[in-house]
Amino acid sequence: MKNLLKGALFGCAIVCSTSAFADTVINGAGATFPYPVYAKWAEQYNKETGVKLNYQAIGSGGGIKQIVAKTVDFGASDAPLNKEALDKDGLVQFPAVMGSIVAVVNLPGLKAGELKLSGELLADIYLGKVKSWDDAAIAELNSGVKLPKTPIYTVHRSDGSGTTYNFTDYLSRVSGDWKSSTGVGKEVAWPKEANQLGGKGNAGVANFVKRTKGAIGYVEFAYAKTNGLAYTQLKNKDGKFVLPTMGAFQAAAANADWANAPGFKLILNDQPGAESWPMTAATFILMHKEQANEATAKEVLKFFEWSYANGDDLAAELEYIPMPDNVVKMVETMWHNDIKADGKAVY
């Protein structure tokens, strides 16, 4: 009995001493799309500071739900909330990093970047109005490219996703028909006139496009690159055809008007600028304005401050686009003004 007691005490002592040295942990949950870069940042940050980030990629919808319920220190969402929604739950939102979406095709003999498409044409293809690759509308933009008489299969995400949200948002901006018939959403009713095929996740879409002759799909740039898929050029708002490159993505980000976006609700699709890539999207972090625990809130903000300052290369390695410095400055000002604990600024 005595021994047992001793053992229990000893065990207690071990548990207590380890917890005294335990890492500070910050908890986040939400969007799957930025998960790789958050994980990379967290790994590096942990090495330097010992602070641990526990991020669960459960989807944007789940991220919003969890931050509203206060079960996490921050939530993450690909689709920004509007100002009213933020205010209703006492939340603030800021962009963490950007990504870009490209159209990918599978046409034998066609190399990456060879095919030219415009936003309207992309919408018409997904609407099922343009059904074959040798259609006059495609040929018109692609003189000199040999287009086969192959039917078009349009591949979309079968799971609800921020990528679909941003893709359909882009189509709605460039095509009135798309806007009125299908609209914008993380999951939409895909027009039945086209040969539709739904793949689960970016990987699923990439896989279907890779395999199906005549397929067209939309994926995040990193997936197009790692899968060796033939991405297309796209015509941007200024009427220029651009290739998906880091420079083109950054141009879109730089030309975006963040200063006039209440609650940082800004979708970067179809931005002006001769070099801007038309489908670019930021992913967002959600936090409460009123923080119950000042120390944790501080840790979260310190993590993102570090990421903005030191995470650019890690992000670029994974084909994400870092936020421009002027936007970072705006975000940090917002932190100072809006995030409070007991009425005092946390940051």
Partner: protein, 311 residues
């Protein structure tokens, strides 16, 4: 001091045991009831808004918040029926081979191999189906079928369409693999319950092995085969991850088995995470309720039929 044992109060031991069992059994019913209640509760907003049209409408549009379950219902039922139709002959064949024809030395390892199929997680089936089976199926069978079978009247439309590899038929085939272990082991079990005397007597009057199997054994286990079939169907109806990968995720009903479709479980798995708006979530829970009801009805019917057969 003498320890108090249960022997001193025999009536109490019995009583306690009976009560414990009763509570355990009761807990199951209560649990079932609670699940059903919470499904109905969650699905109520959608049911209230769409009424009966929830079951008959093919509209599934999260943007305009119009929801109908028919697409998913169709995909679920058709893929499961395909699975059962494909798995039954194979399962029967394997079971008969294992219990009647196969030398004892191979029978055991073979049976273990079949049982191990059940231990493969369903997401593995899904990934294998998507990355290995579907491309092979598209280039092989689907191209051949659309060249040769699609001209045949009536059943031709089932096999027409682009060779995309995924779709209803692929889902059915993958499901068939998944329900094979349960079918095989149940049928094998049933075969082993047929009295030895029955076989010996039949052999004794000069029957061949084929005649013994077809005329004696199979009729003797008709009931259990049917029961196994229904259990397998129940498994197929509810299967989620594998289906989500290979069914193609298209909210539509098509006459061709090659075309992508969706099932109830795949729709829920695909959309629940990112569902925005209460109506979307409610509609997804409504789908869950529909699946619950179908499975309940299938199992219920099986019970009734089996009981009738037993009499």
């Amino acid at each position: 001091m003498r320890a108090i044992s249960i022997v001193d109060f025999p009536w109490q031991g019995d009583n306690l045991f009976r009560r414990a069992c009763f509570v355990s059994a009761g807990l199951i019913s209560v649990l079932m009831f609670c699940i059903m209640l919470s499904l109905i509760f969650g699905a109520w907003p959608a049911m209230e808004k769409f009424g009966l049209s929830f079951f008959t409408s093919t509209e599934w549009n999260p943007v305009t918040e119009e929801f109908g379950a028919l697409n998913a219902l169709y995909g679920t039922v058709v893929s499961s029926v395909i699975a059962v139709m494909l798995a039954l002959p194979i399962g029967l064949g394997v079971a008969i081979f294992l219990s009647e024809l196969c030398p004892a030395a191979i029978s055991k390892p073979l049976f273990i191999a079949i049982e191990l199929l059940a231990a493969v997680p369903s997401i593995i089936y899904g990934m294998w189906g998507l990355f290995v089976f579907a491309p092979w199926f598209a280039d092989g069978f689907q191209i051949w079928a659309s060249d040769n079978l699609s001209e045949i009247p009536v059943i031709g439309t089932l096999f027409s369409g682009p060779p995309m590899g995924v779709g209803l038929l692929t889902s059915g085939i993958i499901l068939a693999f998944m329900i094979l272990p349960i079918l095989t082991s149940l049928i094998k079990e049933a075969l082993s319950t047929v009295p030895k005397v029955l076989r010996e007597a039949t052999y004794g009057i000069g029957a061949t092995q084929f005649e013994v199997i077809v005329k004696v054994l199979l009729p003797a286990i008709k009931g259990p085969i049917f029961g196994a079939l229904i259990l397998a169907l129940g498994r197929a109806l509810g299967e989620t991850m594998a289906i989500t990968f290979v069914i193609g995720g298209a909210q539509s009903i098509d006459t061709s088995l090659f075309m992508p479709a969706t099932s109830i479980s795949a729709s829920i798995a695909n959309q629940f995470n990112e569902a925005t708006g209460d109506m979307h979530i409610s509609a997804l829970i409504g789908l869950g309720l529909v699946l619950f009801m179908i499975t309940f009805m299938v199992m219920g019917t099986a019970r009734v039929l089996l009981r009738r057969k037993a009499k």
